[in-house]
């Protein structure tokens, strides 16, 4: 696997850098907040971005093209979100986590007019509370995956996650 990264500063404001993320022939465009650090291919995830450390931990958000060509139906995903919840219950048991609650399924268009499907859950692990959100974005008929994770106390990072998902656009997909 040849991982190529190119950085294009299209918009240099005080808050974010527009970056092109290239991975196995796919490319995505995301505006990354300044001072966030990038990790490549960690655990096989193409791109992960880390916030500055706050309350002892860095929040992170991953991006990955899935390669799946699929059109998603809002009503169907909403109706079947219990499948997601069942899976998270199992995951929590396997990983010694305590499930605290679910963030219901939602769907919206981001600023590039791509449909975003998002869902999430909260859990505690080793006495720390976490908020995890999954994002499935429809772009040119293909699905792009993203997931954010932060400590419950790092509420301030949520707006960065939202801005990144809002800025997400696809290049070569």
């Amino acid at each position: 696997m040849k991982l190529i990264f190119s950085l294009t500063c299209l918009l240099l404001s005080c808050s974010a850098l527009a970056m092109e993320l290239k991975y196995e022939g796919h490319s995505l465009f995301v505006e990354i907040p300044q001072k966030w650090q990038m990790g490549k291919d960690l655990f096989g995830i193409p791109y992960t971005f880390f916030s500055p450390q706050e309350n002892g931990q860095r929040s992170n958000i991953s991006f990955a093209p899935t390669g799946a060509e699929l059109e998603l139906d809002v009503a169907v995903l909403k109706k079947n979100q219990k499948d997601y919840q069942e899976n998270k219950k199992k995951w929590s048991e396997t990983h010694s986590a305590t499930l605290l609650g679910f963030i219901p399924y939602q769907s919206y268009l981001n600023k590039n007019d791509h449909r975003v499907h998002t869902i999430g859950f909260s859990y505690s692990h080793r006495e720390k509370k976490y908020i995890e959100n999954s994002f499935y974005l429809e772009c040119k008929g293909k699905i792009i995956f993203s997931k954010s994770l932060r400590l419950d106390v790092n509420q301030s990072h949520q707006k960065f996650f939202a801005e990144m998902i809002n800025s997400l656009d696809c290049g070569v997909i």
């Binding site: 995903l77 396997t94 010694s96």
Partner: protein, 678 residues
């Protein structure tokens, strides 16, 4: 491929085991067959450098033999799951039931442990000294064996710690390699490949994506675990930057920590001799001393014996429970692990505790009796289920399932055999290919015994030809009835069966239409001369069809073709076609054998245009007459020139009068030497 066919035949013939055979024997036989089949599938059915199996299958399909292998693997795994019901969820992937390829749990009978260390303190010391080398070697063995379904290979230099010499490593047994491979793959490719189910659902109608959250469950699980591990690592800036900048470089430390941790965990938890309170939930008061004598190499082998639990439960819980600690502390990580670092299910605990193979691998069993052999056989199940070859076969099977569900499948007949192929776009098959649409798609994956060939298993619709030439398209668009018979003739050729009756049918269809068909064919871009012969003048192949006809019928078609060529407007194309006519028809050995002494139309035309002097010389050459002297030659040549001036009915007597025999005179007339035959 013949060897594979023999192997497959052997396996199919020996598939029905005698009733008296016990489960162990049946299991052993099944695993041997599965191992052989999956390795052969990996070796012979996909090129070694295939990175995208799905793309390969779309472009080249799968041969009948490979199809038989992959369905036989599925069939044998079903049989195995009947012997071991705990495997059922892991085996049936075609319906999407198994979200990942983790290994099964196999329960083994209990075996008592040796109490107290059974080795000297020197041995214990030596084990500790050898440990880094043993673990590094086991890890090194994976670097060349990670299956090609993984996109990126790890280089030995990336994982082998400095100061240890890789040349000291001896070849590891396959199980050790596979366990270490599972580790490397789980860590570096934890997330990769988790989209298989979602990708295979590609093309589903929007309202039919009801299982979406199930399809993404594997990716959800791995990304949640990986991102939690990364968040934990970020608490220690040094560790975080080490993982971020040199992820694969930390593998050895993680591996050391993992194996050391498992050893402590087995000693103080799984095999604890006495608990303060509830077993596995309270403090261990009496760890098993026997573990002091276990070398790191034996430890890796021991983990192999519980490969199913290792892959399906230990590794995932370790990612979030101990990976960052292992990356930080390496060999000393065990002391820093928490109670729930290796949190596994009660079922898995029971499996490990009763694992005879684990205890015998570790050398901590009090006695190895006949039952130990049973344990060894069952441990092979785990080895098989985590083997790279099985993974390749299963990934291929899963992809095929998705492709069958989402696109039209065909049985392709080619000169090199039969294939199952998918949507015609992108198919890269050279030469003639007949495509039979498969009508019973939904039953494709459920082969039954005795129905393992395509012809028996599939309900095939009327075939069509792939890679049709421009000539074939032109003539069949003019005469659609020709399409079916031409296809059947080609299939007959591909199957090497007799096509005489079909060719007769072809002649009946093109009767009276040949000039129009030939004109259309010559009007196409770069018309192929052999294709024109095949589609419009099949007699001129001089094969069985020509042998069944009278010579004058063949000659008439040669004449017709010649005349059609002379009507081609493009001078360049006409010249080229005439050259090919000359090459294929005039110089054909088959024709010479079939039509002795029969000139073709072009020869006749050419001869009628000869000059008087050349005509005489050519006539003598054609008859092969023996010339006695110059005067004899002169007389014969004058006879030929003289015959030109007489009517067709009198030419023969003129030639005979000049000295030719009657057969020689008739031959000269047939060849146009004395004028155009009527």
């Amino acid at each position: 491929m013949n060897i594979i066919s023999l192997l497959l035949t052997f396996i199919l013939l020996t598939n029905s085991l005698p009733l008296w055979a016990d489960n162990s024997k049946k299991t052993d036989d099944l695993i041997i067959k599965l191992d052989l089949l999956s390795k052969n599938f990996q070796k012979n059915c996909l090129p070694a450098n295939t990175k995208n199996i799905e793309l390969h299958l779309k472009q080249y399909g799968l041969t009948e033999v490979c199809w038989q292998m992959i369905t036989e693997i599925n069939h044998l795994e079903s049989q195995l799951s009947q012997l071991h019901p705990e495997l059922q969820d892991k085996v049936n992937c075609s319906s999407g039931n198994c979200a990942n390829y983790s290994a099964p749990l196999v329960n083994l009978p209990n075996l008592p442990l040796t109490t107290g260390p059974a080795c000297s303190s020197a041995t214990i010391k030596q084990n500790l000294a050898d440990c880094p080398g043993d673990l590094a070697c086991s890890l090194l063995s994976t670097t060349t064996t990670i299956p090609y379904t993984d996109i990126q290979l790890i280089k030995p230099a990336d994982v082998f710690p400095k100061g240890l010499n890789p040349d000291r490593c001896t070849s590891n047994d396959s199980c050790t390699t596979q366990i270490a491979t599972a580790f490397v793959s789980s860590i570096t490719k934890f997330f990769t490949g988790t989209w298989d189910l979602l990708v295979s659902a590609g093309g589903y109608a929007k309202e039919k994506v009801g299982d979406f959250w199930k399809w993404v469950s594997s990716a959800e699980d791995t990304s949640s675990a990986a991102q939690l591990a990364l968040a934990q690592a970020s608490e220690d800036e040094g560790l975080f930057q080490m993982l971020r900048k040199d992820f694969t470089g930390t593998l050895f430390k993680i591996w050391q920590g993992l194996i050391g941790g498992i050893k402590t965990w087995l000693k103080e938890d799984i095999f604890c001799q006495r608990w303060e309170g509830t077993a596995h939930r309270s403090k261990c008061l009496q760890p098993t001393d026997a573990f002091e004598c276990v070398s790191c190499k034996a430890m890796v082998n021991g983990v192999c014996a519980i490969g199913g639990v290792f892959v399906s439960e230990i590794l995932p819980s370790f990612i979030t429970g101990g990976l960052t600690t292992a990356a930080k502390h390496g060999a000393n990580a065990a002391a820093h692990f928490l109670k729930n670092t290796f949190k596994i299910s009660d079922k898995a605990i029971a499996t490990i505790k009763t694992s005879k193979a684990l205890k015998s691998s570790l050398g901590i069993a009090a006695k190895i009796d006949q039952a130990a052999k049973v344990g060894t056989i069952l441990a092979k199940i785990n080895q098989y289920f985590i083997s790279p070859a099985r993974k390749v076969a299963k990934v291929s099977f899963m992809l095929l399932s998705g492709m069958i569900r989402n696109s039209k499948a065909y049985m392709a007949q080619t000169s090199s055999g039969k294939y199952i192929v998918f949507a015609q776009d992108g198919l890269k098959m050279a030469g003639k290919v007949a495509l039979y649409p498969i009508e019973n798609n939904m039953t494709i994956l459920s082969f039954k015994l005795g129905q393992r060939t395509f012809d028996k298993a599939f309900k095939l619709a009327a075939p069509s030809l792939a890679n049709k030439t421009s000539v074939a398209l032109a003539v069949t668009s003019h005469t659609p009835a020709l399409d079916g018979v031409l296809t059947r003739i080609e299939i007959g050729h591909l199957r090497k069966t007799n096509t005489l009756e079909l060719e007769r049918e072809q002649i009946r269809i093109i009767q009276g239409k040949r000039p129009a068909l030939a004109a259309r064919a010559f009007d196409t871009k770069n018309p192929s001369f052999p294709e024109i012969i095949r589609t419009v003048y099949p007699e001129l192949n001089y094969s069985d069809l020509a042998r069944s006809l009278k010579p004058e019928q063949i000659l008439a078609q040669e004449k017709d073709l010649y005349l059609q060529i002379t009507k081609i407007k493009s001078t360049e194309l006409q010249k080229s076609m005439m050259h090919k006519y000359q090459k294929l028809i005039v110089e054909s050995k088959q024709r010479k054998a079939l039509l002795k002494d029969q000139p073709n139309y072009k020869e006749v035309i050419d001869n009628t245009h000869l000059s008087p002097i050349t005509r005489g010389a050519r006539g003598i050459q054609i008859t092969g007459k023996l010339i006695t002297n110059a005067q004899h030659r002169k007389k014969l040549e004058e006879g030929i020139r003289n015959a030109m001036n007489f009517s067709w009915g009198k030419k023969e007597s003129v030639l005979v009068g000049a000295g030719f025999t009657v057969p020689e005179a008739q031959k000269l007339m047939r060849y146009g030497i004395v004028g155009m035959p009527p």
